[in-house]
Subunit: 190 residues, 2 copies
DNA sequence: GGCTTTCTTGAGTGATCACTCAAGTATATA
DNA sequence: TATATACTTGAGTGATCACTCAAGAAAGCC
């Protein structure tokens, strides 16, 4: 009996993610979204409920994709090589709308206001950090890095470096590839 | 003949800087500023011209203070010790309204829209990077770090690390002091 | 084809945005 | 004390914000 929506919800979320990622929360108006997703206000709210609800969906999508990509890479080439490849991947992926991490941008923008989206972004960053820690732990068990390192501490430093790298990659006066190479080569000294 | 303003312009700029620094550009409304600076709209616009003009003033103040503080420290304790102290200083200074770098936050928020404040922030980050490079160069001339390092490359990596550290310090699930210590100790291996 | 159910449409909501301006007030000089 | 010259005040500007809702259009089942 019902009528089907004329749009692909997943594709819409991916599109919205790219816009939010680039322009931020306050920097993206409903008009921007309506134009890009080709949805009138009524359809938008029927489909997603609110701007914040859609933003939360795109954050989840972003975080899930990031973890999945890294874990798949680790399964393929081993934990240490995956960690060494990651810095280069996050800055040269030409398909990416912007280099800086969407979770970090969201957190930085909304944390001061106590916005719930900042908490969600924070949660996803914790997941990502634990993902890094898991890979460091595996690398340690495989003997690829020394036994007297704390994987959690390595993960925190690594994540911090990646966040800085991705922000640096947004600048055109910085050679991000050199920084990425330096971050990767640091892992050889562990 | 004229009448003097009842406020201290410099103090107002410092106050505005702290608000912009914490809440960002879009996150700070004129109402916020009017309330905090105790200025009615008319006085605000007579004094500063526009929200963007005041923001630009606060950016300049922020950048100048940062460079001056680091350079003074370098004069006092030498370039390498200053570079090693900086990571701890930027995260524990209890007087600071927020840990993340205001230049980086501004750039991340406004770059996608091509806002001129993003360009100004970018320019100030370049100044800061050159300041780091100068200190690395001095340290190298003093024999404190090996002769086969490129001071500009070291400065870019160092700045990237600091940006990541300062963003990490905003999070409450991260031990920023450990990361700061690791960044500082990396300098010993140069 | 008729009917139900959902999706689509777009004008319209009140709130808030950055900003203006004319009237009122205080002060430094003469 | 008189006057000129600012500074202060706050109601008000049009624009844009996220969001609503009632009416119309289209698709699936009988």
């Amino acid at each position: 009996m019902p009528r089907k929506p004329s749009y692909d919800r997943d594709a819409l979320i991916a599109q919205a993610r790219d816009i939010f990622w680039r322009q931020g929360w306050a920097g993206t108006s409903l008009k921007d979204l309506e134009r890009a997703l080709n949805l009138k206000p009524g359809s938008f709210y029927a489909a997603f409920g609110s701007k914040d609800a859609l933003y939360a969906l795109t954050l989840e999508r972003y975080a899930q994709d990031g973890v999945a990509r890294l874990m798949a890479m680790a399964d393929e080439m081993g934990p240490l090589r995956a960690l060494k490849a990651q810095p280069h991947l996050v800055i040269d992926a030409g398909a990416v709308p912007t280099h800086a991490c969407m979770l970090a941008k969201t957190y930085a923008e909304l944390q001061a206001k106590g916005h719930e989206l900042a908490d969600k972004a924070s949660g996803h960053m914790v997941e990502m950090k634990e993902c890094f820690a898991t890979l460091f732990r595996r690398a340690q068990q495989a003997g690829e890095i020394g036994p007297d390192h704390d994987p959690d501490r390595l993960a925190a430093r690594y994540q911090s470096d990646i966040l800085g790298l991705r922000l640096s990659a947004e600048r055109n006066d910085v050679n991000a590839a050199e920084i990425a190479a330096d971050i990767a080569s640091d892992l050889d000294r562990l």
